[in-house]
């Protein structure tokens, strides 16, 4: 059994990765980079769930046929399987939106798009 800091350090790694993703989303203006930031954020949440489901000394949740085998919790795995697939669906939708924005404005830099909009409003 791991104790103390070793027992929760995975959470800290998750937090660092999550904040890296958030940093990209806030600080970059390029829309594709924002999508990548969201993906990094998302994967860190997956890592968090899977860490919660881990049982020390357990094995993958596939029945071995032996009695008294310790299995990791299958429920977070199921939830994250669903989340991964939904994540790709949202990525596809986001990229389609970015392509439309590129067609409409000729740029995918957020600040340039915002300046287009203010110009139109002031007219």
């Amino acid at each position: 059994m791991i104790h103390g800091i070793l027992g929760i350090w995975n959470y800290w790694i998750v937090i660092i990765l999550m904040m890296t993703g958030l940093f990209i989303v806030i600080s970059r203006h390029n829309l594709v980079k924002k999508m990548v930031g969201l993906t990094i954020f998302q994967t860190s949440v997956f890592l968090f769930y899977i860490s919660l489901g881990k049982v020390q000394g357990g094995t993958a949740p596939i029945l071995t046929g032996y009695k008294n085998t310790l299995y990791s919790n299958p429920l977070p795995h199921v939830l994250i399987l669903t989340a991964i697939v939904v994540g790709v669906a949202t990525t596809a939708l986001g990229l389609a939106l970015i392509l439309r924005i590129k067609n409409e404005y000729g740029t995918i830099e957020e600040n340039e798009i915002a300046s287009f909009n203010t110009e139109e409003n002031s007219k």
Binding site: M1, M18, M19, L22, S51, P74, L99
Partner: protein, 181 residues
């Protein structure tokens, strides 16, 4: 202990990739780094006993979404225009939120603790009953397709909606020509 060091190394790789992804101004290399990031997180999932999640992440997260990004990049500018006007604001927000989350992490159960609340509720039920209820050895498949089948139905609805959205946004190429004429 060996497991701990392997995990530590992989996680270090993840952090390096994430930071290089921030730095790089070539959008294309950011996209490829995101693919590598997914692949390494798949290896971490294997070491955390989540084999089904690992191969889904490797196939869908690292494979399919990278393909989608590359397909989109064909029509998008390859370089980012660097404007660092809200880096400081972003840094402050991330540090504050990060510190709050680290503070909260002390209340979470130790990783791998068999007495953690998550392992007391429906998890043991799935483990003991999947064999008799469905007769398949893979617990994840049993839960995904049967015990929580409605979740999977919801997932397919989301994918259908997203697919419909992509079709409506991009069209099949004919509408664009009509607009140009």
């Amino acid at each position: 202990m060996a497991e701990f060091f392997i995990n530590g190394f992989l996680v270090f790789l993840l952090a390096v990739i994430a930071i290089v992804a921030i730095q790089s101004i070539k959008v294309f290399s950011t996209v490829m780094l995101a693919g590598a990031y997914s692949l390494i997180s798949a290896i971490i999932f294997v070491s955390l006993d989540a084999v089904d999640v690992a191969f889904t992440e490797a196939a869908v997260g690292a494979g399919l979404s990278t393909v989608l990004y590359i397909a989109a990049m064909k029509h998008l500018p390859k370089r980012e225009k660097v404007v660092n006007d809200n880096t400081f604001f972003a840094l402050v927000v991330c540090l504050v939120v990060g510190c709050l989350l680290v503070w909260a992490s002390f209340d979470l159960p130790q990783i791998g603790d068999p007495m953690a609340p998550i392992h007391q509720h429906v998890g043991p039920y799935y483990i003991t009953n999947t064999k008799t209820d469905m007769g398949i050895p893979n617990l994840v498949t049993g839960v995904l397709a049967s015990y929580r089948g409605y979740d999977t139905l919801g997932e397919t609805v989301v994918i259908f909606t997203a697919g419909l959205g992509v079709l409506l946004l991009l069209g099949d190429g004919r509408n664009n020509r009509d607009e140009n004429e």
